[in-house]
Structure formats: structure tokens, C-alpha cells
């Protein structure tokens, strides 16, 4: 596969691995947080960790949109799906995320709710056109990457006068989450989570650019390297972070130059600014309530806002007490530190959201990383 295989090449990986090993100072520990689930997935799926020296430790971040959605928001989706006449369109990953009372969208679907799996907001829009007698609601989740397509769908619905389409908006913002992690007592005061630098988001940065990270690098003195999602991207970014740390620099560098510019995609940013506005606060699984960390639909497009259209209100819901998703999302614990991991909680019967999405740290470790258990016990 052209333009993909080049970024998964074994010989190039060995070359990078040698350079990382040469660059990493043996007496030093490098704790690098990969922000995105896309990075976590690539690290496990391609076995990147096996090519890193023992003193380079990857800490998994909260950048998995499915994982960070709190139970209360999922409960709202379940409420919506339960209304007569509603077709709820969702990305496939959301189907198995556990909500309150052991409910999930897939269970609701089996019980008769009209829940459809879609690949994009545009699919949901098409469904609305095809079945004018039903209320079609798109369950919008994701970081800055998936927000512009949702904006496009809302604008298209307005332009064509579609009045049976709305969006249950759960779009969240990356910079707010990074700031929250850096400000958290675990990182700032207690030092229990050593984070020396960040692998910055790939697709998110295509939209927002590299500029928004400059503040973190300066203010918190942590280097950020924006990294593509292919395994060689990840390895090259790790090398760049190690160099910065060795040289005592804390800058924003861009490894993903084939897609990311400093200013991002101006057109996409305009679209988003036109349709969405900041929420005063939003609850994240793992991070808690984070101020100005999510978007809602502007008043002007209010009829496309499912929350207002169906008078939904947010009720925080508690998670399974034994589930450590929250701490795992903050990088405080590893998946294997959770008592439920691999026993009560598996991809077949997930107890927490990190075990659902393939970008979730638990699912990635369970599906790809467990050979390390064999290596330890053999």
C-alpha cells in the first residue's frame, strides 16, 4: 500500500531504534506521554515498545474520545434512543460502552431501539433525508478532528431545510485536557506521574495547528513533538523528544510536517467557530469537570441541538468503583494495575470505556500487548 507501507518499514524502524538507543542517556529516565489513542494503538499494534530502550517509558494519555466520555453523557444518549420515533446514529465504538445500570447502546438496540452505526455525520444526514418521518439524531463525539464534519452536517441540514435532524454534541478540546493533566496534583505537586514530554496529537493538529501547544511548552517547560499515527512517525517523534530533553529544550516541534502546519486548517476552524461555542464546563471521565473543555451548538443553530430539542439534562452518574479508567486516562495507573483488567473487564464484556475502543489503553494492551506477560513468566 503506497504511502502507508513506507511508514511501517522494518528496516527504517531498526535504524530509528538504533538512533534512539544511541541518543538516550543510560542513567536517565524518559517518561513520554503519548496524548492520543491513535498513538497508543500504533505503539501496541506494531510493537513499538519492543524497539525502545528500557529507560524510555511511554505513558498513555487521555486522547481517546470514546474513553473520556462520562457515563452521564452516555446515559443521555440512551435516554434519546429510548424515545419513540428517534433514530440514533452513532460511531460503532460507542455501541459497547457501558452506561449506568449495566446498559449500553448495543443492549438498547437488541431490545428494539432504533440505533444505527454510521461512519460519519454525513451518513446520519442521509438517513434523515431518507426517512423524513423519523427524528434522526447524530451522537457526535470526538476531539477537534471530528468537529468540522459535524459542523458541515449541521450547516447542510440548515441549508436544505431539513427539520428532522439534530446533533447530540459531545465534542471536546485537546488543549484544555493537556492543561488539566499538567495542572493535576499527580503531575504538578506529587510528582507521582513523571511526564517529561508529550507526543502531540496528529489529526487534531491538522485542524488546530501546532501553535496552541506553544503555551504548554513555555509555561510548563515540557517539550511537545506533534507526531503522526504511523509507527515510524511515533519512533521519530520519540527520538526528537529525547534530543530536546538531552539538550534542555522545551519547544513545540512538528514531526508530522506532511499534514500539520503552525496555523492549522483555517477553513475548518472558521466552520467550527461558526457553529459551535465553548461550554463553560464539561465532565471528562478520568479528568473530572474541566472548564472550557468542550463545545456546544450555538443558539443560532439551536434547532439542530438535540439537548435542547429534546430537553435533555445532564445528570452525573457514578462509575463502577473498582474500574480504574480514570486513573489510567491520567497516566497515573497502567491497565494491568486495575483489578478488573482481563478478569471481570475484557473487550467482550467491558466494565470501563478504556476496554471498549481500540484506542483505549486497556483494549490496546489486552488485544496486542499481553505477550509481555508471557515474556515475564516464561
Amino acid at each position: 500500500m503506497k504511502y502507508i507501507d513506507e511508514f511501517r518499514d522494518g528496516a527504517a524502524a531498526r535504524g530509528l531504534a538504533n538512533r534512539i538507543a544511541a541518543q538516550a542517556e543510560p542513567q536517565r529516565h524518559y517518561n513520554l506521554m503519548e496524548f492520543c489513542g491513535g498513538h497508543t494503538h500504533a505503539i501496541y499494534r506494531y510493537g513499538v515498545s519492543d524497539l525502545l530502550p528500557g529507560n524510555v517509558n511511554m505513558v498513555h494519555g487521555p486522547g481517546c474520545p470514546v474513553c473520556v466520555l462520562p457515563v452521564g453523557r452516555l446515559d443521555m444518549a440512551l435516554t434519546l434512543a429510548g424515545f419513540d420515533g428517534i433514530t440514533l446514529c452513532t460511531y460503532g465504538d460507542m455501541l459497547r460502552v457501558p452506561g449506568s445500570k449495566d446498559q449500553s447502546l448495543i443492549k438498547a438496540k437488541s431490545a428494539g431501539a432504533d440505533i444505527r452505526m454510521v461512519y460519519s455525520a454525513t451518513d446520519a444526514l442521509r438517513l434523515a433525508r431518507e426517512q423524513p418521518e423519523r427524528e434522526v439524531v447524530f451522537f457526535a463525539i470526538g476531539f477537534e478532528t471530528t468537529t468540522p464534519p459535524t459542523a458541515v452536517a449541521i450547516k447542510a441540514a440548515e441549508e436544505s431545510g431539513l427539520d428532522n435532524f439534530s446533533v447530540f454534541c459531545n465534542h471536546v478540546l485537546t488543549p484544555a485536557a493537556i492543561a488539566n493533566i499538567l495542572e493535576s496534583p499527580d503531575v504538578r505537586d506529587l510528582g507521582t506521574v513523571p511526564i517529561d514530554g508529550f507526543l502531540g496529537p496528529a489529526h487534531v493538529s491538522v485542524v488546530i495547528g501546532s501553535q496552541p501547544y506553544e503555551f504548554f511548552a513555555r509555561e510548563y517547560e515540557k517539550p511537545v513533538v506533534i507526531s503522526g499515527f504511523e509507527p515510524l512517525d511515533v519512533m521519530q517523534s520519540i527520538l526528537m523528544l529525547i534530543r530536546q530533553l538531552n539538550e534542555g529544550r522545551a519547544e513545540v516541534e512538528n514531526q508530522y510536517i506532511r499534514a500539520v502546519s503552525r496555523d492549522g486548517n483555517a477553513k475548518a476552524k472558521r466552520l467550527v467557530a461558526d457553529v459551535f461555542e465553548l461550554r463553560r464546563q464539561f465532565e471528562w471521565r478520568g479528568l473530572g469537570v474541566v472548564p472550557y473543555s468542550a463545545l456546544r451548538i450555538k443558539q443560532r443553530y439551536t434547532k439542530f441541538d438535540a439537548e435542547r430539542r429534546f430537553a435533555l439534562s445532564y445528570v452525573p452518574a457514578s462509575e463502577n468503583k473498582a474500574c480504574e479508567c480514570g486513573a489510567i486516562l491520567r497516566g497515573v495507573l497502567k491497565p494491568t494495575d486495575c483489578k478488573l483488567f482481563g478478569t471481570a473487564c475484557t473487550p467482550e464484556s467491558p466494565m470501563g470505556s478504556c476496554m471498549v475502543s481500540s484506542e483505549g489503553a486497556c483494549a490496546a494492551y489486552y488485544s496486542y500487548g499481553r505477550y509481555q506477560d508471557s515474556a515475564e513468566t516464561a
Binding site: M1, I4, R8, D9, G10, A13, R14, A17, Y44, R45, Y46, G47, V48, S49, D50, L51, R96, V118, Y119, D123, P231, L232, T346, P347, E348, S358, Y366, S367, Y368, G369, R370, Y371, D373, S374, T377, A378
Partner: protein, 353 residues
């Protein structure tokens, strides 16, 4: 039953309208309409002496040896896809399940559950494709059943086939026989069937040239077990793909496995579609592939025999069995790292076969 079509049609007064007609509830009621459907459509297409007995069962002598019996139901959507249809799939799938024991498949049964209103033209096409697939594989469809359900209570047609075959003396193939050190072989590229079917699904608008690999593997199996009777086990990686089937064998045998990603053939088109849809070809369904486990010292000979058969031209040794205490299937990635190849979790794509 071996009457020529013209006389066959006259027997029923008005012939079946296989161009514009549709299946009606009466076609499954046990009366004259059903008898006509069976006679004019099924018996004509599947013509063989056992079916011609016209009884509720086919009676036959089997060659000596252990008998292998398997059954499978086919609910694939859409019914017609690049490289096959539900009919050829229902024949190939069950032949393959029987053949994976090392058996020579001999006879099939075919049960149809048809939704009222289903076009007779489509049914004729499906039955014709079953007949052609069975003939090509040297297998007879010797008994059958037809049920018709109300409109809205089915989805066109569902087909169940059962197959029976006889295992040549001296063969002992079973999923619990893999031993550390054994080699794992695969007869060709993975994911073709799943991607071909996916490309036809509504909502996934892309055109690909990938055709389903749906094929009867009994000829290949016969060549393999004749040349290397020491084969420990054969299995066809259908639903759940290569990954799931390797895990099944590992669990049954109480062993681990180590496979090499670069050795597993995947067509570039299949890789591309999987990349776009976020799928892993290791989990995508196949309908003309088999995994063979054999002792290490027989692997070279087995590979040679497989590559000499039209359905094994791109066969490869993809890995080996080991004694991993966790029973993991591990893979060395193209990048040079390792990962677990786990069971498929959830449903990657419903109604793929």
C-alpha cells in the same frame, strides 16, 4: 426425475414463471405448488440418482472409513457479491468444513428458508450456482427441504447445508493435535471474502476489484493429505478470520503460536480497504482459505504440494507452534516488534456468510 425439462414442465400444467414469478407461501406448504417448485427447480438443477429416488431421505452406500458430518447455515447479505453468491457459498462452506477433517466430501443436503415474494429468477440463479459449485467439487446434493415464511419474516433466502464425507484410513486430523515446534501454513491471501462483501454493502460506497475467495478446498486437501498424511490439523479461517482460527487451535491444543506478519499474504486492495475502514485483515472472513499445522520436518513438502495446486499458489509458512504458558498467539510485526493476536471481540461485520 430425470425427465427432460419440457416433459417435466408439462407434468405440472403451467410451468413455473422463473422470469417474473415470485415465491409464494404455497411453495412451502407441502402441496402441489411445492412439489412443482422442487421438481422443476431443485431436482432439475441438482439431478442425481439419490434425489431421483424421490423419498424424504437419500439412501446411500458409503466407502469404508470414518464418516465426517458437518452443517452450516448461510445468511449472507447481500445474496450476490463479487466472486459468488449465497448458493455457491453454501456449497463451498460445508464442503470445506467436511474436508478439514481430511475427509473426501461426498454428499450434501440443502434446506431453504425463503421469504414470500422472493423472485423466482433470483432463486433459480442461486440454485444454478449451487449445482455448478457442487458439480465442480464432485459432490452431489442428495436431499433437501423448502420452507416459505411470510414477507418481512425472513430476508430473501437463508440456506442450510449439511455435508457428509469419508476419511481415508490413516488420517487423524484434529484441532487438539498441534505440538510445539510444528509449522503453520496458509494457502493464500487473507480477507478477500470479507472485503468483497463489504464493498457491496450500502453506505460503504467504494469500488474495489476484490472478489470473494469462495472456493471448494476438497481438491487441495486431498492433495495435501495424500502427500503429507502426518498433517496434525486443518481448519478454514472463515468468520473471525485467521486470528480467531489460530486462537481456536491454540486453545484446543493447549499451545501458543508465533506468527510472522510479513509472511501472511494480504492483497494490496484488501489492505487499502481495511486501512480505510479501520479493520485488521487478520480478522476479516475468508471462504477459500485453510490453515494447516504439520510437523516441522514435513513443512517443506507440504508447502510444495500446496503451491502446486491452483488454490494454493501463494501458500506460505506463516509461523510455528510453541509452548507459551498463556496460550497466546503472538506475532512479530513487520516493524520488528511483537504483539498478541487475540480472538475477535464483538462483531466485525454481521452476516458475512
Amino acid at each position: 426425475m430425470s425427465a427432460p425439462p419440457a416433459r417435466r414442465a408439462r407434468r405440472w400444467g403451467r410451468p413455473l414463471d422463473t422470469k417474473r414469478g415470485v415465491v409464494e407461501l404455497s411453495h412451502g406448504s407441502g402441496g402441489r405448488a411445492m412439489a412443482q417448485l422442487i421438481d422443476q427447480l431443485f431436482a432439475e438443477a441438482f439431478a442425481n440418482p439419490w434425489l431421483a429416488q424421490g423419498n424424504d431421505q437419500a439412501c446411500m452406500e458409503l466407502p469404508p472409513g470414518r464418516v465426517a458430518l458437518s452443517t452450516d447455515s448461510y445468511v449472507i447479505s447481500p445474496l450476490f457479491f463479487p466472486g459468488g453468491d449465497i448458493g455457491s457459498l453454501a456449497v463451498h462452506g460445508t464442503i470445506n468444513d467436511v474436508a478439514m477433517s481430511g475427509a473426501r466430501p461426498l454428499h450434501l443436503s440443502a434446506g431453504f428458508i425463503i421469504e414470500a415474494g422472493f423472485r423466482l429468477a433470483d432463486l433459480t440463479r442461486i440454485v444454478g450456482s449451487m449445482a455448478a459449485a457442487a458439480t465442480a467439487a464432485g459432490v452431489s446434493i442428495v436431499t433437501g427441504d423448502t420452507k416459505v415464511v411470510e414477507r418481512g419474516k425472513g430476508d430473501g433466502v437463508f440456506i442450510n447445508t449439511s455435508g457428509i464425507g469419508v476419511i481415508p484410513a490413516g488420517l487423524e486430523l484434529s484441532g487438539d493435535r498441534a505440538r510445539p515446534g510444528d509449522r503453520i501454513l496458509l494457502n493464500g491471501s487473507i480477507g478477500d471474502h470479507g472485503v468483497a462483501v463489504m464493498s457491496t454493502r450500502s453506505g460503504l460506497d467504494f469500488e474495489v476489484s476484490v472478489r470473494s475467495d469462495s472456493a471448494a478446498l476438497n481438491g487441495l486437501v486431498e492433495a495435501m493429505v495424500t502427500a503429507v498424511p502426518e498433517i496434525r490439523c486443518l481448519r478454514d479461517p472463515t468468520r473471525g478470520g485467521l486470528a480467531t482460527t489460530l486462537n481456536e487451535i491454540a486453545r484446543q491444543s493447549g499451545v501458543g503460536m508465533a506468527v510472522e506478519e510479513p509472511e501472511i499474504p494480504v492483497k494490496p486492495e484488501v489492505s487499502a480497504v481495511c486501512e480505510l475502514l479501520g479493520l485488521d485483515p487478520l480478522y476479516v472472513a475468508n471462504e477459500g482459505k485453510l490453515i494447516a499445522v504439520c510437523p516441522a520436518d514435513r513443512a517443506a513438502r507440504l508447502l510444495e504440494v500446496m503451491r502446486g495446486h491452483p488454490l494454493g499458489k501463494s501458500a506460505a509458512v506463516i509461523g510455528e507452534v510453541d509452548a507459551d504458558p498463556h496460550g497466546f498467539v503472538r506475532m512479530r510485526t513487520g516493524l520488528g516488534g511483537q504483539r498478541v493476536v487475540d480472538w475477535l471481540s464483538g462483531e466485525q461485520l454481521p452476516r458475512i456468510c
